[in-house]
Symmetry: C2
Subunit: 350 residues, 2 copies
């Protein structure tokens, strides 16, 4: 029998960041696909859409009008999942039915006044403005005594439940630390207590040494396909310096984040010559007023496409009932992303 | 301020079966939807499709032909994610890059020779045949020394990644217990050690007492929307008698399961007058040769539709990066399902 080979044999990988396992089936990329295909996003959009509730000057569901903003624009979500006017309370029936009131709020961040742009089509200074808004929102919301965690994220593309193509992201901020960052926090704390160094700092060192899963680098940031990636082209964007949150980044590091965001999202669009759908978001320290030297700020990109602009990976039966499963190896995905141009496909002149 | 009210105020609920929390936002069901809509499945299908690789007598990818089966038909998946010819091996680089070879196999179960049927359109004896196949497969695969867990599931509908409408399910059987049943096993064991009774038996008693989330019952089974449901119309199908796996069910209990499956899936189809997509699957005891008195066999249904045959719930940004979130309460969903007819909408004569 041949020796065990990660590029060929089914195996499970461990995610030390959240403590969970996934199944990798490298040989399975070959199976034919006869199922649902996505609509590729080929709509040509105007720079301003009078029916868009995010465009400058337009009316919103709450009856107000957006300002004629020229950069970024942030407002309270008119349909937030979290509210701050919730009375305290809880339920506990024999430890089996347990519920607790939750308070918080939702914010929407328009990245640009231009209805027809997305992050990869914006320039670095414009993306840097988005980074600054994220930082200020995290700082201000996090300073509130009733906010213990600030989740910043973007759903891009109809395939990821995004209901408006105007470039925007969201913030859900709440009293409690939600499940995913809670798991990551516990794993990072345990590692820090054992090794005296942040888990992701050590992980980044291993990745730079192996140089198999790195997609792009600049002076301050590294984008890589994590060894434990679940989504086909999932990436992790990490600052080289282990800081716990955005407010601890220097100006140069924020510029570096803007540069890395632009380059990574251009590569994504170039992979299948389509506006690449994803959910992405920042994980950072809880805002509980404590020091968190174990926390290493990072950004996850979870894109669903697998083989083309229309064929996605479905996280269904086995994935929901068993555990996450992937068909192509993270190393193969990283190589694909690494070999792509950083000139956006729409800018190519043929 | 009013008192805390589960039907109105955002709150978190705890899932004692897997140890995780979710966010419930009851007020959010009202937000308008402008995003992606699913294609409702209205295709009229022939009872036999010459191009279907699951229909009786037809050719398959591996070059063989299906028998002219008249009931159920089981075969090895031609594109299985798991294989049993994998050499043993592992990788561990500083506890950060960890992988282990995994062995196993994939099976496909055709529920019926009829290409145009689905479970809710089959009669109880035909569904009982499917239950018998599940039982025999669990018994036979589970008896193998190299199989520690048998995951039986069905992906129904294009929205759940199903690539062929011919009624069928799958089995992925493997050496290791995957993440979800591993979590459920640990939670059930801890509860059993503390209380001397299975967790789900006690939970079922509470649900029958409260009678708010029960959808349907027969002599041996109860279908309910669990207090901690994540998907809008998620249900849990539980045998009244706490058995660890299918092989411990009596003939009457297997008939009861077939009856409950038919009635539950008819209600699902009737909810939006559409062939209701879902991923569903059985969780039962690991096949490690040990006794598992803590394990209570059950079946999960995870259906994505939220408001109509075309509007689904997206598990995206916050759900992937924070924690699962739902817009309608489990109690409201249970009431909707409870009030539906058990005559399939296609059978109605107007
Ligand atoms: O095996 P199928 O039906 O081709 O594939 C489907 O179910 C599998 C098991 O849940 C998933 O891994 C695939 O993403 C999905 O498309
Ligand atoms: O808030 P939106 O963009 O309307 O809604 C989208 O993102 C939310 C946060 O991930 C999800 O809960 C919704 O299911 C999704 O459709």
């Amino acid at each position: 029998m041949p020796v065990f080979d990660l590029t060929q044999h089914p195996h499970r990988r461990y995610n030390p960041l959240n403590g969970e396992w996934l199944l990798v089936s490298p040989h399975r990329a070959l199976r034919p696909w006869q199922g649902q295909e996505e609509e590729p996003d080929t709509a040509a959009r105007p720079p301003y859409d009078p029916t868009c509730y995010l465009c400058p000057g337009n009316g919103r569901a709450n009856g107000t009008h957006n300002p004629k903003y020229t950069g970024t624009f942030v407002f309270d979500n008119d349909f937030a999942a979290l509210r701050d006017d919730v009375p305290d309370g809880q339920l506990n029936k024999r430890e089996l039915l347990r519920a607790e009131a939750e308070t918080g709020l939702g914010r929407v961040i328009c990245f640009s006044p231009r209805h027809d742009l997305t992050l990869p089509e914006m320039d670095v200074p414009a993306i840097r403005n988005v980074v600054d808004v994220w930082t200020e929102e995290y700082r201000t919301l996090g300073a509130r005594a009733d906010i213990g965690y600030v989740q910043i994220f973007e759903n891009k593309g109809a395939a990821m439940g995004c209901s408006n193509p105007h470039p925007h992201g969201q913030i859900w901020a709440q009293r409690t630390v939600p499940g995913e960052p809670a798991k990551e926090g516990a794993q990072q704390l345990a590692y820090f207590q054992e090794h005296g160094r942040p888990l992701l700092a050590d992980y980044l060192a291993v990745e730079l040494e192996e140089n198999q899963r790195v997609v792009l680098e600049n002076e301050h940031w590294v984008a890589l396909v994590p060894f434990w990636a679940v989504w086909p082209f999932e990436t992790l964007l990490l600052p080289r310096r282990a800081v716990a949150d955005l407010t601890q980044l220097s100006a140069a590091e924020k510029d570096g984040l803007a540069d890395a965001l632009r380059r990574l999202t251009i590569r994504y669009d170039n992979l299948f010559n389509t506006s690449f759908p994803y959910s992405a978001g920042l994980h950072q320290s809880p805002t509980d007023g404590e020091e968190h030297p174990e926390w290493h700020l990072h950004m996850h990109f979870y894109p669903p496409l697998l083989r083309s602009a229309t064929v996605r990976k479905f996280m269904v039966g086995y994935e929901l009932l068993g555990e996450p499963q992937r068909d192509i190896t993270p190393e193969w995905a990283a190589e694909k992303l690494r070999n792509l141009s950083e000139v956006h496909y729409k800018q190519h002149t043929y």
